[in-house]
Subunit: 340 residues, 2 copies
């Protein structure tokens, strides 16, 4: 990590994959989480671990469970409840991915076929439900009703965000504020809950709980902004999903909202034809990227992301210097500088 990165500025020369410090620091805990994940997706119904394993072992970053582990350790937690909760957080995330892919009719994720493409939508819906239930079983073991309330609420908020997103799909007049509401709910709610529960199981005061909540929330917003940026600017082989997926599905993300606002009549018609009517031809993605760049929409999306990461970083000021704090600061860089 460079000094510039630590102080908040982004430099082009800094280490890109800044999840490694966190992964190393939480290595032992993460091994236990992975073991618990494998144990808890077992079922005498063979299809369940097959389908769940397809997604869970497909090279996920384990970012959300890492946040739970690190948040707990940041709060000097010494017990073992963070292990089960980190696994629960990953299960909730996996369940939402399975249901998302059904909702989006996605065919590839993380560079391989989606579960719904292999086993069909029906199995994906049901295995998502199974993982979601198992997540709650894991949470019960934390013995904390407060943790259960936080994660149950986050799950409801995620679903609300996804439903709102459904109603904005193919609607190019979607406002920035609606977009922001969607990504806060569908992505950032789980980030913030994953962090907050680290303070809860450590019995830390409200201000630390809130600080971790704000860290996760703002990190999650930045993460999704970058995701939406990468969908027009990523490299297929690193991204693990196809550049242009959002475009092909007519998903309304910040880059296109900005470009549409700034476009002339002809350009507006282009966005309406391609994203609202899904009437697309081979050259349209290239033209879309051209328009996004012309109106500085991709850069601005990155700039917004960085502004949220600043807020995330500031929230950590609540905590004294520690290796976990530094690692969580680095995660901020990862989330905004990542190329996958």
């Amino acid at each position: 990590m460079t000094v510039a990165a630590r102080s908040g500025g982004m430099t082009t020369g800094q280490k890109i994959n800044s999840l490694e410090t966190l992964r190393n620091l939480c290595g032992n805990d993460l091994k236990k989480v992975n073991k618990l994940i494998l144990n808890n997706m077992e079922s005498e119904v063979d299809l369940i671990p097959q389908l769940a394993g397809h997604l869970i072992s497909a090279g996920g970053k384990r970012l959300r469970p890492l946040l739970t582990l690190a948040s707990a350790r940041l709060c000097n937690y010494e017990g073992d409840k963070h292990i089960g909760l980190a696994a629960a957080v990953e299960f909730i995330h996996t369940a939402t991915l399975l249901h998302d892919d059904v909702v989006d009719s996605s065919e590839s994720r993380r560079g391989q076929e989606t579960a719904n493409a292999v086993w069909g939508n029906q199995a994906s819906v049901l295995v998502g439900d199974f993982l979601f239930s198992r997540a709650f079983m894991l949470m019960v073991k934390s013995d904390s009703l407060k943790v259960l309330a936080i994660l149950a609420n986050a799950s409801a908020v995620i679903a609300e965000g996804e439903v709102t997103q459904l109603t904005t799909a193919n609607n190019i007049s979607t406002s920035e504020s609606t977009y922001l509401k969607v990504i806060k709910s569908k992505t950032a709610a789980l980030f913030s809950a994953a962090c907050r529960i680290g303070a809860v199981i450590s019995d830390r005061p409200d201000k630390e709980e809130n600080a971790l909540d704000q860290y996760g929330l703002n990190l999650g917003i930045a993460f999704q902004l970058v995701d939406d940026f990468l969908d027009y600017n990523g490299l297929n082989n690193q991204l693990g999903k196809d550049v242009g997926d959002d475009f092909r599905e007519g998903k309304i993300t910040l880059p296109v909202i900005l470009a549409f606002e700034r476009g002339d009549t002809k350009e507006k018609l282009f966005w309406q034809r391609t994203l609202e009517n899904l009437d697309q031809n081979d050259e349209d993605l290239e033209q879309a990227i051209h328009l996004l760049k012309k109106h500085n929409a991709l850069n601005e999306t990155q700039i917004r992301a960085r502004s949220y990461t600043e807020t995330a970083r500031t929230a950590l000021n609540q905590f004294p210097k520690s290796p976990y704090k530094s690692a969580l600061e680095e995660v901020v860089n990862f989330c905004v500088e990542r190329t996958y």
Copy 2:
């Protein structure tokens, strides 16, 4: 209720709709449950209460929440936690129905269009997730981790049953024992959990908890057996779903398992063509019902259902005579004698 019915024998002259006693007895509680259901399906995302309300207000029997209410009262429960838990049980049930209808591509339920037929599969999946999350939020308010564990486990078991059912669809060689495992999981698990938690919140001894669990489990098995019977023998307008739905989808239920086992080569070919290959013509449903009757498969399905209801009834012996006990005994009659 007739003496014959109370003692376990079924007579043709008895009152058919024996849910009424229970509904009347739990009337005040049920009103509170319905209010809580309406409040908790609220969301600023309009589509959520619209879609959820479509199903929840569509004349459901509220059988499962009634079981929770009555089980708690049977255990002399005096608090108000049973209200929230009954609502949670109904939410879990509704979420599974929403996901079921997506899985089955059903177009009608309870005599009206399914949510997925009106709003699409995507919204049904997500609103199901929302209700499931809200169910857990309601459960957290019960302040009982044991209740949460029971219902989270039941939810996982339901999903397992549904996945197993998926793997048996269109497989006419499905064994009776696999079929039984499916219906125990997908249907009876929630019945037994709904009853058991009544004893848990009342702090009753294990033997009462287990008795209510067994009552619910066996009632649930009987309920599903009758459901599968009615799919070939019901009246469309009362059933609220179409006679022959299972046949058209190639669902393998006990009546067809029995008729297939007992059929000659030509009949086996008929079942394979219609249920495995889904190669069906207009006269096939009639022919299927003819074969089911010829081999006594419908009668036997009813007889099995009655045997489970006997076990359910016996489980209640654990409890002294009371209006709630009598009402729960009557529910047994309802579940097996119902025509819808």
